[in-house]
């Protein structure tokens, strides 16, 4: 494969981490717990599989009428005093958010989990402009303290043990070392409480946006988003344009599906819909509510006649959790905002196919992701299509030559038989070079034994027999 810097880095890291048995054990351990609760909740559905068809239909409709639903959403939210901003790309989104923050003369900013924020690097932009930004989701907060990217877009700190987290807290917060997840959580709780009370701006993401009522919906467990959207005077929600759902009542299906697929919870701790700033007669809430709708090349994906369904994604993370590639290479190796199968599908569209084509090739196309996806995105099949597109755009000369040669071999049985005979001779001498730089099969033999060409092939047997 022609190698881009991103691909080289990816291969290098993958080779290291796949041999890291400790990493393997931590991830398996964490995901085992997830699998047990997920299966238990799925079993409570009268029919999980049929629910997937329904959810997929609703999302398909939403994505295919995105223009209508976006306009409806904006109109309804504006009628309730919300402000809607339209950002074509990351730079525009950053500019919009920075503009609001400056106008408000903000001093402290608290954030609940926003994956689109990672996508547009909003923290870096705000910090560069001199603002303090604090992540309030526990996992994100840990990553922020460690100056690491989230490892998983639902479980950001899944790769860390309590010992490592305790070390981070001791180093960054000066807390006493502890081995108890409970105590660690309480340390973060105490620090972050202060931040909430002081913050003048809260930034959140959105899991869904409802066209019918002009609301956004946020799914979380900790209550950090609830606080982020309750205490600061200004609330900014940043979301991709694909998050639209037609009706408020659609959430009756989507919230339990998101909770079940994502965390193995029928509903996560808090599923909250926000429609505007504080309304007349209400006790509290922000004075201003801004929603920033981000395109950032989602419309390129929307224009793909084959892969449009990838915009149905609700970022539940289920496809990561079942992905044997993800489990072995881990979230950081991807080097992308969105990891796992969905990340490998959308990143080439949102960024660049040639630069990220290694992601579409780094898959056994096993389809576990497609089977897990609650909205039935054809994930592994899209990887296959992107391989075709990547090669059509820019083939690798020696690969093309090899496959051309293979076509000749396969199309002429006698050439194929000759090849088998040569293989039989070759394998006599192969041990001399096995797993050395001279070995043409080294990609295989570095970790595996080669199969042997049989003394009599099937075809030879068949023709003898006749």
């Amino acid at each position: 494969m022609s190698t881009t810097p991103a691909a080289a880095e990816f291969k290098k890291e993958a080779a290291v981490i796949t041999r890291d048995l400790r990493h393997r054990a931590v991830i398996r351990g964490a995901l085992k717990k997830y699998e047990v609760v997920r299966d238990d909740k799925k079993a409570r559905f009268q029919n999980w599989q049929q629910a997937r068809y329904l959810a997929s239909d609703i999302k398909w409709d939403a994505v295919n009428h995105l223009d209508t639903y976006l306009a409806e959403f904006a109109k309804n939210l504006e009628a309730r005093g919300g402000k809607v901003h339209w950002a074509s790309d990351a730079a525009q989104a950053r500019e919009i958010i920075l503009g609001i923050v400056k106008e408000k003369n903000a001093k402290a900013i608290v954030k609940s989990k926003v994956m689109t924020g990672e996508e547009i690097h909003i923290n870096e932009a705000l910090e560069e402009a001199g603002y303090e930004v604090v992540e309030s989701d526990l996992g994100e907060y840990i990553c922020q303290l460690r100056k690491e990217a989230p490892y998983h877009f639902v479980f950001p700190a899944m790769h860390l043990t309590r010992g490592e987290i305790s070390q981070t807290f001791t180093k960054e917060l000066g807390s006493a070392p502890t081995n108890s997840p409970e105590e660690l959580t309480m340390i973060a709780r105490r620090v972050l409480r202060e931040k909430y009370i002081k913050a003048d701006i809260g930034i959140s993401g959105a899991n869904f946006a409802i066209a019918e009522t002009g609301m956004i919906s946020i799914t979380e467990n900790e209550g950090n988003a609830r606080l982020t959207c309750a205490l600061p005077k200004t609330h900014i929600a940043l979301m991709g344009i694909e998050k639209l759902l037609p009706k408020l009542s659609d959430l009756a299906l989507f919230l339990p599906m998101l909770g079940t697929a994502g965390c193995g919870q029928l509903l996560t701790g808090y599923n909250t819909m926000y429609g505007g700033p504080k309304q007349p007669g209400e006790a509290d809430g922000p004075e201003e509510f801004h929603v920033v709708l981000l395109d950032n090349r989602r419309t390129d994906l929307l224009a793909s006649s084959e892969q449009r369904d990838a915009l149905q994604c609700m970022r539940c993370g289920a496809c990561l959790n079942v992905c044997p590639i993800y489990k072995n290479i881990g979230g950081h190796t991807y080097g992308t905002t969105y990891q796992g199968p969905i990340g490998s599908v959308i990143t080439p569209h949102l960024r660049n196919l040639q630069e990220f084509k290694h992601l579409v090739f780094c898959s056994s196309l096993c389809g576990a992701c497609t089977e897990a996806c609650p909205v039935k995105i054809d994930l592994h099949h899209h990887l296959l299509q992107s391989r075709r597109d990547a090669i059509a755009e820019k083939a690798v000369w020696w690969e093309r030559l090899t496959f051309k040669a293979c076509a000749v071999i396969f199309n002429h049985a006698w050439v194929f038989s000759l090849g088998e005979k040569l293989g039989r001779i070759g394998q006599i001498f192969h041990p001399l070079i096995k797993n050395t730089p001279l070995d043409p099969a080294r990609a295989w033999t570095a970790s595996r034994e080669l199969p042997k060409v049989a003394p009599q092939t099937f075809r030879e047997w068949w023709s003898h027999r006749k």
């Binding site: 329904l54 295919n64 309480m186 926000y274 006790a283 224009a303």
Partner: protein
């Protein structure tokens, strides 16, 4: 701003001019085929029995699993007040916060503790220092064991999430079967007059699994959730 809006919407429209086919699920043969016909979400979501007793039992089971403390109380408001006094005593409450409402006022008023009221604005520090937030709710959802609150029904946005203990006072008529019914109820209450600015399904106390996927309660919000239902 209008420019950016038009630009973005134009790009969306242009993208949608390309016709797309919905994947037919050919590559997901491990999953069962679709059952033909038109179907509603309630048919596939977890089953809820038709009688009040079944719903009550399911709510209690789900709430317990979520580690919420659900108490179904016979004996009306006086019994509820007594129950709450007991909790306040055991936990050594020093002050509570609440909002206007028949049940909330009866409950909070009988504790003999300082009460912060949120409906006309409040001091955040004072609210933060309260031992408990006592709120009413829109509904209790049997299917999921959730409490449905809104900024209108439950004293704003912070009251149900800032104090360390959230106490919900509810009446038995407020138990609804499932999520679909909960949304239908919201629509019947608010679709004409305007929805509250915050609607939240609360399912158990605040929780996190961010450290080794081990459950810890009270991550940012309340460590305890008590639902008193008369």
């Amino acid at each position: 701003m209008n420019d950016q809006r038009e630009q973005l919407l134009t790009r969306v429209r242009k993208a949608l001019e390309v016709p797309a086919e919905k994947p037919a699920g050919h590559h997901d043969q491990a999953s069962e085929p679709r059952i033909a016909g038109k179907h509603a979400a309630t048919e596939w979501l977890p089953l809820v029995g038709p009688s009040f007793e079944e719903r009550l039992a399911l709510y209690a089971k789900n709430a317990k699993e979520l580690t919420a403390d659900f108490r179904f109380i016979q004996g009306g408001i006086p019994a509820l007040v007594a129950e709450l006094q007991e909790i306040a005593k055991t936990e050594g409450w020093t002050g509570v916060a609440t909002h206007a409402g028949e049940l909330t006022e009866a409950a909070a008023g009988a504790l003999g503790l300082p009460v912060v009221r949120t409906e006309c604005g409040y001091d955040v520090d004072a609210l933060e220092k309260c031992s408990a937030g006592i709120t009413a709710c829109e509904a209790l959802v049997a299917q999921t064991g959730s409490v449905l609150v809104t900024s209108r029904s439950s004293g704003g946005r912070a009251l149900s999430v800032l104090p360390p203990h959230h106490v919900v006072v509810a009446r038995r008529e407020q138990i609804v079967a499932d999520m679909t019914e909960a949304y239908a109820l919201l629509a019947s209450r608010y679709s004409e007059s305007g929805y509250p600015s915050m609607i939240s399904f609360i399912s158990g106390p605040s929780r996190t699994g961010d450290i080794e996927r081990i459950l810890v309660l009270g991550a940012h919000g309340p460590k305890r959730l008590t639902v008193l239902c008369i």
